[in-house]
Amino acid sequence: MDGRFLVDRVFTVIVVVVAIIAILPVFHIIAYITWRGLPIVIDNGLSFFTDVPAAVVAEKPGGIAPALAGTAFMTITATLIAVPLATLAAIFSVEYPNHVLTKAVRVTSRSLLEVATILIGMLIFVLLVLPTGRFTALAGSLALAIVMIPYVYTYAELALLSVPKTYIEAAYALGMKKAQVIFYVTVRVARRGLARGIAIAVTKAMGETAPLLFTAFGARSVIFGGPLEPADALPLMVFQFIQTGYDNWRALAWGGAFTLLVLYLSFFILARLLVKEVRY
Protein backbone atom coordinates (compact mmCIF):
# COMPACT_ATOMS: atom_id res chain seq x y z
CA MET A 1 0.00 0.00 0.00
CA ASP A 2 1.18 3.53 -0.85
CA GLY A 3 2.72 5.18 2.27
CA ARG A 4 1.04 8.53 1.55
CA PHE A 5 -2.34 6.81 1.23
CA LEU A 6 -1.83 5.11 4.60
CA VAL A 7 -0.83 8.38 6.31
CA ASP A 8 -3.88 10.06 4.76
CA ARG A 9 -6.22 7.34 6.08
CA VAL A 10 -4.66 7.40 9.56
CA PHE A 11 -5.06 11.18 9.79
CA THR A 12 -8.62 11.00 8.48
CA VAL A 13 -9.48 8.51 11.22
CA ILE A 14 -7.78 10.70 13.86
CA VAL A 15 -9.66 13.81 12.70
CA VAL A 16 -13.01 11.99 12.71
CA VAL A 17 -12.39 10.55 16.21
CA VAL A 18 -11.30 13.96 17.57
CA ALA A 19 -14.37 15.60 16.01
CA ILE A 20 -16.65 13.01 17.63
CA ILE A 21 -14.93 13.53 20.99
CA ALA A 22 -15.36 17.30 20.61
CA ILE A 23 -19.11 17.16 19.95
CA LEU A 24 -19.87 14.28 22.33
CA PRO A 25 -20.37 16.54 25.38
CA VAL A 26 -23.06 18.49 23.49
CA PHE A 27 -25.02 15.31 22.79
CA HIS A 28 -24.42 14.15 26.35
CA ILE A 29 -25.86 17.38 27.76
CA ILE A 30 -28.88 17.24 25.44
CA ALA A 31 -29.51 13.56 26.22
CA TYR A 32 -29.06 13.90 29.99
CA ILE A 33 -31.26 17.00 30.36
CA THR A 34 -33.93 15.36 28.20
CA TRP A 35 -33.75 12.15 30.26
CA ARG A 36 -34.11 14.06 33.54
CA GLY A 37 -36.43 16.87 32.44
CA LEU A 38 -38.84 15.48 29.85
CA PRO A 39 -40.66 13.06 32.24
CA ILE A 40 -41.30 15.91 34.66
CA VAL A 41 -42.81 18.08 31.95
CA ILE A 42 -44.96 15.17 30.71
CA ASP A 43 -46.11 14.20 34.24
CA ASN A 44 -47.26 17.71 35.09
CA GLY A 45 -48.78 18.59 31.73
CA LEU A 46 -49.85 22.14 30.93
CA SER A 47 -49.82 23.19 34.59
CA PHE A 48 -46.02 22.88 34.50
CA PHE A 49 -46.00 26.01 32.32
CA THR A 50 -48.92 27.88 33.91
CA ASP A 51 -48.49 27.39 37.69
CA VAL A 52 -46.17 29.00 40.19
CA PRO A 53 -43.77 26.66 42.07
CA ALA A 54 -45.48 24.68 44.82
CA ALA A 55 -44.51 24.96 48.46
CA VAL A 56 -41.59 22.77 49.54
CA VAL A 57 -43.89 20.45 51.47
CA ALA A 58 -46.32 19.87 48.57
CA GLU A 59 -46.40 16.59 46.69
CA LYS A 60 -46.58 18.15 43.25
CA PRO A 61 -43.77 20.43 42.08
CA GLY A 62 -46.07 23.14 40.71
CA GLY A 63 -44.93 25.06 37.62
CA ILE A 64 -42.32 27.35 36.15
CA ALA A 65 -44.67 30.14 35.00
CA PRO A 66 -42.81 32.96 36.86
CA ALA A 67 -39.49 31.85 35.37
CA LEU A 68 -40.97 31.57 31.87
CA ALA A 69 -42.69 34.96 32.10
CA GLY A 70 -39.58 36.62 33.53
CA THR A 71 -37.32 35.12 30.88
CA ALA A 72 -39.75 36.17 28.14
CA PHE A 73 -40.04 39.75 29.44
CA MET A 74 -36.35 40.27 30.15
CA THR A 75 -35.13 38.62 26.92
CA ILE A 76 -37.57 40.56 24.74
CA THR A 77 -36.81 43.87 26.48
CA ALA A 78 -33.06 43.26 26.33
CA THR A 79 -33.36 42.36 22.63
CA LEU A 80 -35.34 45.54 21.93
CA ILE A 81 -32.59 47.57 23.61
CA ALA A 82 -29.51 45.71 22.36
CA VAL A 83 -30.33 44.84 18.74
CA PRO A 84 -30.99 48.35 17.36
CA LEU A 85 -28.13 49.84 19.38
CA ALA A 86 -25.56 47.20 18.42
CA THR A 87 -26.68 47.00 14.78
CA LEU A 88 -26.50 50.78 14.37
CA ALA A 89 -23.06 50.75 16.01
CA ALA A 90 -21.93 48.03 13.58
CA ILE A 91 -23.27 49.99 10.59
CA PHE A 92 -21.41 53.07 11.84
CA SER A 93 -18.20 51.05 12.25
CA VAL A 94 -18.43 49.66 8.72
CA GLU A 95 -19.27 53.01 7.15
CA TYR A 96 -16.63 54.97 9.09
CA PRO A 97 -13.89 52.42 9.81
CA ASN A 98 -11.28 55.03 10.74
CA HIS A 99 -13.46 57.17 13.00
CA VAL A 100 -12.27 57.48 16.58
CA LEU A 101 -15.73 56.42 17.78
CA THR A 102 -15.45 53.19 15.74
CA LYS A 103 -12.18 52.34 17.44
CA ALA A 104 -13.71 53.05 20.85
CA VAL A 105 -16.77 50.89 20.08
CA ARG A 106 -14.58 47.99 18.87
CA VAL A 107 -12.40 48.05 21.99
CA THR A 108 -15.43 48.31 24.28
CA SER A 109 -17.24 45.51 22.47
CA ARG A 110 -14.26 43.16 22.62
CA SER A 111 -13.74 43.95 26.29
CA LEU A 112 -17.40 43.30 27.08
CA LEU A 113 -17.17 39.91 25.37
CA GLU A 114 -14.41 38.95 27.79
CA VAL A 115 -15.91 40.42 30.96
CA ALA A 116 -17.49 37.98 33.42
CA THR A 117 -21.22 38.61 33.18
CA ILE A 118 -21.56 38.76 36.96
CA LEU A 119 -19.63 42.03 36.80
CA ILE A 120 -22.25 43.39 34.40
CA GLY A 121 -24.87 42.43 36.98
CA MET A 122 -22.90 44.24 39.66
CA LEU A 123 -22.62 47.34 37.47
CA ILE A 124 -26.40 47.54 37.07
CA PHE A 125 -26.76 46.78 40.79
CA VAL A 126 -24.64 49.83 41.61
CA LEU A 127 -26.16 52.10 38.95
CA LEU A 128 -29.82 51.14 39.20
CA VAL A 129 -30.70 48.76 42.01
CA LEU A 130 -28.95 50.62 44.85
CA PRO A 131 -30.22 54.12 43.91
CA THR A 132 -33.82 52.91 43.45
CA GLY A 133 -33.65 50.52 46.36
CA ARG A 134 -35.31 47.60 44.51
CA PHE A 135 -34.59 44.62 42.34
CA THR A 136 -36.58 44.88 39.11
CA ALA A 137 -37.22 43.02 35.86
CA LEU A 138 -36.13 46.18 34.06
CA ALA A 139 -32.73 46.11 35.79
CA GLY A 140 -32.40 42.46 34.74
CA SER A 141 -33.29 43.44 31.17
CA LEU A 142 -30.64 46.16 31.13
CA ALA A 143 -27.99 43.74 32.40
CA LEU A 144 -28.96 41.21 29.72
CA ALA A 145 -28.91 43.95 27.06
CA ILE A 146 -25.30 44.75 27.99
CA VAL A 147 -24.49 41.02 27.74
CA MET A 148 -26.11 40.90 24.27
CA ILE A 149 -24.61 44.05 22.73
CA PRO A 150 -21.08 42.75 21.98
CA TYR A 151 -22.46 39.55 20.40
CA VAL A 152 -24.91 41.38 18.14
CA TYR A 153 -22.27 44.02 17.31
CA THR A 154 -19.51 41.53 16.47
CA TYR A 155 -21.68 39.32 14.25
CA ALA A 156 -23.34 42.33 12.60
CA GLU A 157 -19.99 43.95 11.82
CA LEU A 158 -18.66 40.72 10.30
CA ALA A 159 -21.84 40.22 8.27
CA LEU A 160 -21.84 43.80 6.97
CA LEU A 161 -18.14 43.67 6.09
CA SER A 162 -18.70 40.49 4.10
CA VAL A 163 -21.12 42.22 1.68
CA PRO A 164 -19.20 42.47 -1.62
CA LYS A 165 -18.23 46.07 -2.45
CA THR A 166 -19.54 45.66 -5.98
CA TYR A 167 -23.18 45.69 -4.73
CA ILE A 168 -22.55 48.80 -2.68
CA GLU A 169 -20.93 50.51 -5.66
CA ALA A 170 -23.88 49.51 -7.88
CA ALA A 171 -26.30 50.97 -5.32
CA TYR A 172 -24.46 54.31 -5.21
CA ALA A 173 -24.34 54.31 -9.01
CA LEU A 174 -28.14 54.13 -9.02
CA GLY A 175 -28.18 57.44 -7.17
CA MET A 176 -28.96 55.98 -3.76
CA LYS A 177 -28.08 58.01 -0.68
CA LYS A 178 -25.97 56.46 2.06
CA ALA A 179 -28.99 55.56 4.21
CA GLN A 180 -30.72 53.97 1.20
CA VAL A 181 -27.62 51.93 0.35
CA ILE A 182 -27.47 50.68 3.93
CA PHE A 183 -31.21 49.95 4.16
CA TYR A 184 -31.92 48.60 0.66
CA VAL A 185 -28.67 46.76 0.03
CA THR A 186 -26.07 46.27 2.77
CA VAL A 187 -28.38 45.20 5.60
CA ARG A 188 -30.52 42.99 3.35
CA VAL A 189 -27.63 41.19 1.72
CA ALA A 190 -26.14 40.61 5.18
CA ARG A 191 -29.46 39.57 6.76
CA ARG A 192 -28.48 35.94 7.48
CA GLY A 193 -25.34 36.98 9.34
CA LEU A 194 -27.27 39.64 11.25
CA ALA A 195 -29.93 37.09 12.21
CA ARG A 196 -27.24 34.65 13.33
CA GLY A 197 -25.75 37.27 15.66
CA ILE A 198 -29.16 38.12 17.11
CA ALA A 199 -29.98 34.41 17.63
CA ILE A 200 -26.69 33.80 19.43
CA ALA A 201 -27.13 36.90 21.59
CA VAL A 202 -30.74 36.03 22.48
CA THR A 203 -29.87 32.47 23.47
CA LYS A 204 -26.93 33.80 25.46
CA ALA A 205 -29.29 36.20 27.28
CA MET A 206 -31.88 33.46 27.85
CA GLY A 207 -29.29 31.28 29.50
CA GLU A 208 -27.59 33.90 31.71
CA THR A 209 -27.88 33.54 35.47
CA ALA A 210 -25.12 35.68 36.96
CA PRO A 211 -26.27 39.16 35.79
CA LEU A 212 -29.76 38.45 37.17
CA LEU A 213 -28.64 37.57 40.70
CA PHE A 214 -28.07 41.26 41.56
CA THR A 215 -30.74 42.77 39.34
CA ALA A 216 -33.95 40.76 38.84
CA PHE A 217 -33.25 38.67 41.93
CA GLY A 218 -36.10 36.17 41.41
CA ALA A 219 -39.78 36.03 42.39
CA ARG A 220 -41.92 32.92 42.73
CA SER A 221 -45.21 33.83 44.34
CA VAL A 222 -46.69 35.67 41.33
CA ILE A 223 -46.26 34.89 37.64
CA PHE A 224 -45.10 38.40 36.70
CA GLY A 225 -45.41 41.44 38.92
CA GLY A 226 -44.43 44.05 36.31
CA PRO A 227 -41.25 45.67 34.99
CA LEU A 228 -40.60 47.48 38.25
CA GLU A 229 -40.92 44.39 40.45
CA PRO A 230 -38.44 41.55 40.99
CA ALA A 231 -38.76 38.77 38.41
CA ASP A 232 -37.71 35.17 38.00
CA ALA A 233 -35.91 33.68 35.02
CA LEU A 234 -35.41 30.09 33.83
CA PRO A 235 -31.66 29.83 34.44
CA LEU A 236 -32.01 31.65 37.77
CA MET A 237 -34.71 29.21 38.87
CA VAL A 238 -32.68 26.19 37.69
CA PHE A 239 -29.58 27.49 39.49
CA GLN A 240 -31.41 28.13 42.77
CA PHE A 241 -33.74 25.07 42.84
CA ILE A 242 -31.15 22.46 41.86
CA GLN A 243 -29.14 23.37 44.98
CA THR A 244 -32.04 22.81 47.37
CA GLY A 245 -32.71 19.53 49.12
CA TYR A 246 -36.41 19.49 48.13
CA ASP A 247 -37.34 16.87 45.56
CA ASN A 248 -40.23 18.82 44.08
CA TRP A 249 -38.06 21.93 43.51
CA ARG A 250 -35.25 19.82 42.06
CA ALA A 251 -37.82 18.32 39.69
CA LEU A 252 -38.82 21.86 38.65
CA ALA A 253 -35.15 22.63 38.01
CA TRP A 254 -34.77 19.65 35.65
CA GLY A 255 -38.04 20.45 33.88
CA GLY A 256 -36.92 24.10 33.60
CA ALA A 257 -33.55 23.08 32.17
CA PHE A 258 -35.32 20.92 29.58
CA THR A 259 -37.64 23.84 28.69
CA LEU A 260 -34.63 26.14 28.29
CA LEU A 261 -32.98 23.59 26.00
CA VAL A 262 -36.09 23.32 23.83
CA LEU A 263 -36.32 27.13 23.66
CA TYR A 264 -32.65 27.32 22.56
CA LEU A 265 -32.99 24.77 19.82
CA SER A 266 -36.31 26.07 18.52
CA PHE A 267 -34.96 29.60 18.43
CA PHE A 268 -31.94 28.59 16.34
CA ILE A 269 -34.01 26.46 13.98
CA LEU A 270 -36.63 29.23 13.60
CA ALA A 271 -33.96 31.82 12.87
CA ARG A 272 -32.52 29.59 10.14
CA LEU A 273 -35.93 28.86 8.63
CA LEU A 274 -37.24 32.41 8.72
CA VAL A 275 -34.19 34.22 7.37
CA LYS A 276 -33.24 32.91 3.95
CA GLU A 277 -29.58 32.87 2.94
CA VAL A 278 -28.68 35.36 0.21
CA ARG A 279 -26.93 33.52 -2.60
CA TYR A 280 -24.44 35.46 -4.73
Partner: protein, 253 residues
Protein backbone atom coordinates in the same frame (compact mmCIF):
# COMPACT_ATOMS: atom_id res chain seq x y z
CA UNK B 1 -18.24 67.41 -34.14
CA UNK B 2 -21.67 66.89 -32.54
CA UNK B 3 -22.20 68.96 -29.36
CA UNK B 4 -20.61 67.24 -26.37
CA UNK B 5 -22.58 65.50 -23.65
CA UNK B 6 -19.42 65.38 -21.55
CA UNK B 7 -16.53 67.82 -21.70
CA UNK B 8 -13.41 67.19 -19.63
CA UNK B 9 -10.53 69.64 -19.12
CA UNK B 10 -7.30 69.04 -17.23
CA UNK B 11 -8.66 66.12 -15.19
CA UNK B 12 -6.18 64.74 -12.69
CA UNK B 13 -6.78 61.93 -10.19
CA UNK B 14 -4.39 60.92 -7.45
CA UNK B 15 -5.09 57.87 -5.28
CA UNK B 16 -2.94 57.25 -2.18
CA UNK B 17 -0.25 59.51 -3.60
CA UNK B 18 -0.15 57.81 -7.01
CA UNK B 19 -1.16 59.72 -10.16
CA UNK B 20 -3.79 57.71 -12.02
CA UNK B 21 -5.07 60.38 -14.43
CA UNK B 22 -2.48 62.96 -15.44
CA UNK B 23 -4.41 65.72 -17.18
CA UNK B 24 -7.20 64.31 -19.34
CA UNK B 25 -8.92 66.53 -21.92
CA UNK B 26 -11.73 65.09 -24.04
CA UNK B 27 -15.27 65.51 -25.33
CA UNK B 28 -17.86 62.75 -25.50
CA UNK B 29 -20.36 63.65 -28.26
CA UNK B 30 -24.08 63.49 -27.51
CA UNK B 31 -26.16 60.49 -28.67
CA UNK B 32 -23.13 58.56 -29.84
CA UNK B 33 -21.23 55.54 -28.62
CA UNK B 34 -17.74 56.48 -27.52
CA UNK B 35 -15.30 53.68 -26.86
CA UNK B 36 -12.64 54.42 -24.28
CA UNK B 37 -9.89 51.97 -25.05
CA UNK B 38 -6.41 51.33 -23.81
CA UNK B 39 -4.32 48.71 -22.07
CA UNK B 40 -4.90 47.68 -18.45
CA UNK B 41 -3.84 50.29 -15.93
CA UNK B 42 -4.19 53.23 -18.30
CA UNK B 43 -6.89 54.92 -16.17
CA UNK B 44 -10.03 54.04 -18.18
CA UNK B 45 -12.09 52.76 -15.25
CA UNK B 46 -10.95 55.61 -13.00
CA UNK B 47 -12.04 58.07 -15.70
CA UNK B 48 -15.50 56.48 -15.86
CA UNK B 49 -15.86 56.62 -12.09
CA UNK B 50 -14.98 60.31 -12.05
CA UNK B 51 -17.86 61.03 -14.43
CA UNK B 52 -20.54 59.80 -11.98
CA UNK B 53 -18.41 60.69 -8.96
CA UNK B 54 -18.21 57.08 -7.74
CA UNK B 55 -14.50 57.82 -7.37
CA UNK B 56 -15.41 59.63 -4.16
CA UNK B 57 -16.10 56.27 -2.51
CA UNK B 58 -12.38 55.48 -2.79
CA UNK B 59 -10.22 56.35 0.23
CA UNK B 60 -7.48 58.95 -0.05
CA UNK B 61 -8.41 60.27 -3.49
CA UNK B 62 -7.73 63.74 -4.90
CA UNK B 63 -9.55 64.92 -8.03
CA UNK B 64 -8.86 68.19 -9.85
CA UNK B 65 -9.85 69.65 -13.20
CA UNK B 66 -13.18 70.31 -14.82
CA UNK B 67 -15.89 67.87 -15.90
CA UNK B 68 -18.99 69.34 -17.56
CA UNK B 69 -22.07 67.28 -18.31
CA UNK B 70 -24.50 69.09 -20.62
CA UNK B 71 -22.70 72.29 -19.67
CA UNK B 72 -22.84 71.92 -15.86
CA UNK B 73 -19.74 71.31 -13.77
CA UNK B 74 -20.42 68.04 -11.96
CA UNK B 75 -18.35 69.11 -8.96
CA UNK B 76 -20.73 72.04 -8.35
CA UNK B 77 -23.78 69.74 -8.43
CA UNK B 78 -25.35 67.55 -5.75
CA UNK B 79 -23.50 64.22 -5.95
CA UNK B 80 -26.72 62.16 -6.05
CA UNK B 81 -28.13 64.29 -8.88
CA UNK B 82 -24.90 63.70 -10.82
CA UNK B 83 -25.18 59.93 -10.34
CA UNK B 84 -28.79 59.96 -11.49
CA UNK B 85 -27.73 61.45 -14.84
CA UNK B 86 -25.73 58.30 -15.53
CA UNK B 87 -26.57 54.62 -15.68
CA UNK B 88 -23.61 52.37 -15.03
CA UNK B 89 -22.81 48.77 -15.88
CA UNK B 90 -19.78 47.22 -14.19
CA UNK B 91 -17.17 44.74 -15.38
CA UNK B 92 -18.52 41.86 -13.28
CA UNK B 93 -22.28 41.31 -13.38
CA UNK B 94 -23.60 42.50 -10.01
CA UNK B 95 -27.39 42.23 -9.83
CA UNK B 96 -28.53 42.57 -6.22
CA UNK B 97 -28.65 38.98 -4.93
CA UNK B 98 -31.49 39.55 -2.45
CA UNK B 99 -33.88 40.97 -5.04
CA UNK B 100 -35.87 39.23 -7.78
CA UNK B 101 -35.24 39.93 -11.47
CA UNK B 102 -38.21 42.34 -11.43
CA UNK B 103 -37.07 44.16 -8.29
CA UNK B 104 -33.51 44.48 -9.57
CA UNK B 105 -34.82 46.53 -12.48
CA UNK B 106 -37.47 48.34 -10.46
CA UNK B 107 -35.17 49.51 -7.68
CA UNK B 108 -33.43 52.16 -9.81
CA UNK B 109 -36.78 53.54 -10.94
CA UNK B 110 -38.14 53.48 -7.38
CA UNK B 111 -35.15 55.22 -5.83
CA UNK B 112 -35.18 57.90 -8.51
CA UNK B 113 -38.98 58.36 -8.41
CA UNK B 114 -39.23 57.62 -12.11
CA UNK B 115 -42.53 55.74 -11.72
CA UNK B 116 -45.65 57.28 -10.15
CA UNK B 117 -47.75 54.09 -9.97
CA UNK B 118 -47.34 50.33 -9.95
CA UNK B 119 -48.62 50.19 -13.54
CA UNK B 120 -46.04 52.74 -14.64
CA UNK B 121 -43.33 50.79 -12.78
CA UNK B 122 -44.38 47.58 -14.57
CA UNK B 123 -44.13 49.42 -17.88
CA UNK B 124 -40.67 50.80 -17.08
CA UNK B 125 -39.42 47.35 -16.02
CA UNK B 126 -40.71 45.83 -19.25
CA UNK B 127 -39.28 48.68 -21.35
CA UNK B 128 -35.84 48.38 -19.68
CA UNK B 129 -35.76 44.59 -20.07
CA UNK B 130 -36.80 44.89 -23.73
CA UNK B 131 -34.12 47.50 -24.38
CA UNK B 132 -31.56 45.21 -22.70
CA UNK B 133 -32.81 42.40 -24.99
CA UNK B 134 -33.71 40.26 -22.00
CA UNK B 135 -37.50 40.48 -21.84
CA UNK B 136 -38.25 37.38 -23.91
CA UNK B 137 -35.90 35.29 -21.78
CA UNK B 138 -37.25 36.37 -18.37
CA UNK B 139 -40.86 37.48 -18.88
CA UNK B 140 -42.19 34.25 -17.36
CA UNK B 141 -39.84 34.25 -14.37
CA UNK B 142 -39.65 37.86 -13.25
CA UNK B 143 -39.79 36.81 -9.61
CA UNK B 144 -36.87 34.39 -9.81
CA UNK B 145 -33.62 35.33 -8.06
CA UNK B 146 -30.94 36.69 -10.41
CA UNK B 147 -28.49 33.85 -9.73
CA UNK B 148 -30.72 31.59 -11.82
CA UNK B 149 -29.64 33.58 -14.90
CA UNK B 150 -26.44 32.97 -16.88
CA UNK B 151 -23.55 35.45 -16.52
CA UNK B 152 -24.45 37.14 -19.79
CA UNK B 153 -28.12 37.41 -18.83
CA UNK B 154 -27.10 38.85 -15.45
CA UNK B 155 -25.05 41.50 -17.23
CA UNK B 156 -28.03 42.42 -19.44
CA UNK B 157 -30.13 42.56 -16.26
CA UNK B 158 -27.62 45.09 -14.91
CA UNK B 159 -28.02 47.06 -18.15
CA UNK B 160 -31.82 46.98 -17.65
CA UNK B 161 -31.37 48.12 -14.03
CA UNK B 162 -29.32 51.10 -15.23
CA UNK B 163 -31.82 51.92 -18.00
CA UNK B 164 -34.79 51.90 -15.62
CA UNK B 165 -33.33 55.06 -14.05
CA UNK B 166 -33.95 56.72 -17.46
CA UNK B 167 -30.39 58.04 -17.60
CA UNK B 168 -29.18 60.44 -20.28
CA UNK B 169 -25.76 58.85 -20.38
CA UNK B 170 -24.78 55.21 -20.02
CA UNK B 171 -21.35 54.22 -18.68
CA UNK B 172 -20.11 50.68 -19.25
CA UNK B 173 -16.89 49.42 -17.71
CA UNK B 174 -15.67 46.47 -19.80
CA UNK B 175 -19.17 44.97 -19.65
CA UNK B 176 -18.34 41.95 -21.80
CA UNK B 177 -15.08 40.98 -20.08
CA UNK B 178 -16.71 38.07 -18.26
CA UNK B 179 -19.37 36.90 -20.70
CA UNK B 180 -19.52 34.62 -23.75
CA UNK B 181 -19.52 35.78 -27.41
CA UNK B 182 -23.28 35.28 -27.93
CA UNK B 183 -24.14 37.43 -24.91
CA UNK B 184 -21.46 39.93 -25.97
CA UNK B 185 -23.15 40.30 -29.38
CA UNK B 186 -26.55 40.77 -27.74
CA UNK B 187 -25.23 43.45 -25.42
CA UNK B 188 -23.54 45.28 -28.29
CA UNK B 189 -26.77 45.12 -30.33
CA UNK B 190 -28.64 46.54 -27.35
CA UNK B 191 -26.19 49.47 -27.10
CA UNK B 192 -26.52 50.30 -30.80
CA UNK B 193 -30.31 50.20 -30.52
CA UNK B 194 -30.25 52.49 -27.46
CA UNK B 195 -28.14 55.05 -29.26
CA UNK B 196 -30.37 54.84 -32.37
CA UNK B 197 -33.84 54.69 -30.76
CA UNK B 198 -33.43 56.48 -27.43
CA UNK B 199 -30.67 59.02 -28.21
CA UNK B 200 -28.73 57.81 -25.17
CA UNK B 201 -25.07 58.79 -25.03
CA UNK B 202 -22.90 55.75 -24.35
CA UNK B 203 -19.32 55.65 -23.04
CA UNK B 204 -17.94 52.12 -23.05
CA UNK B 205 -14.56 51.18 -21.61
CA UNK B 206 -12.93 48.28 -23.40
CA UNK B 207 -9.50 46.80 -23.77
CA UNK B 208 -10.61 44.91 -26.88
CA UNK B 209 -9.82 46.92 -30.05
CA UNK B 210 -12.23 44.86 -32.15
CA UNK B 211 -15.09 45.65 -29.83
CA UNK B 212 -14.26 49.35 -29.90
CA UNK B 213 -14.33 49.33 -33.71
CA UNK B 214 -17.49 47.20 -33.89
CA UNK B 215 -19.62 49.14 -31.50
CA UNK B 216 -18.50 52.78 -31.39
CA UNK B 217 -18.83 56.01 -33.36
CA UNK B 218 -15.87 57.64 -31.60
CA UNK B 219 -12.75 56.22 -30.03
CA UNK B 220 -10.66 57.71 -27.24
CA UNK B 221 -7.28 56.06 -26.69
CA UNK B 222 -5.98 56.13 -23.11
CA UNK B 223 -2.41 55.38 -22.17
CA UNK B 224 -0.65 55.95 -18.87
CA UNK B 225 -3.33 58.24 -17.46
CA UNK B 226 -3.58 60.44 -20.56
CA UNK B 227 -5.63 60.63 -23.73
CA UNK B 228 -3.17 60.01 -26.55
CA UNK B 229 -5.63 60.14 -29.43
CA UNK B 230 -9.35 60.59 -30.13
CA UNK B 231 -11.53 60.78 -33.20
CA UNK B 232 -14.21 59.09 -35.30
CA UNK B 233 -13.93 55.31 -35.20
CA UNK B 234 -13.45 55.00 -38.98
CA UNK B 235 -10.45 57.34 -38.93
CA UNK B 236 -8.80 55.81 -35.85
CA UNK B 237 -9.33 52.25 -37.08
CA UNK B 238 -7.91 52.88 -40.55
CA UNK B 239 -5.21 55.45 -39.96
CA UNK B 240 -4.34 56.13 -36.32
CA UNK B 241 -1.99 59.06 -35.85
CA UNK B 242 -0.16 57.74 -32.80
CA UNK B 243 2.14 54.75 -32.72
CA UNK B 244 0.68 53.61 -29.37
CA UNK B 245 -2.82 53.47 -30.88
CA UNK B 246 -1.50 51.55 -33.89
CA UNK B 247 0.25 49.01 -31.69
CA UNK B 248 -2.83 48.63 -29.48
CA UNK B 249 -5.08 48.05 -32.51
CA UNK B 250 -2.66 45.40 -33.78
CA UNK B 251 -2.88 43.66 -30.40
CA UNK B 252 0.79 44.30 -29.62
CA UNK B 253 0.14 45.73 -26.13
Amino acid sequence: MISPAIEVKGLRVRISGKDILKGVDLRVPEATITAIMGPSGSGKTTFLKVLNRLIELVDDVEVSGEVRVYGSNIFDMDVYKVRRLFGMVFQTPNPFPHLSIYDNVAIGAKVNNVARSRKELDEIVRWALEKAMLWDEVKNRLHDPPWRLSGGQQQRLCLARALAMKPRILLLDEPTANIDPVNTAQLEDALRALRRDENITVAIVTHMPHQAIRVSDYIVMFYDGRVVEEGPTGEIAISPREDITRRFLRGEM
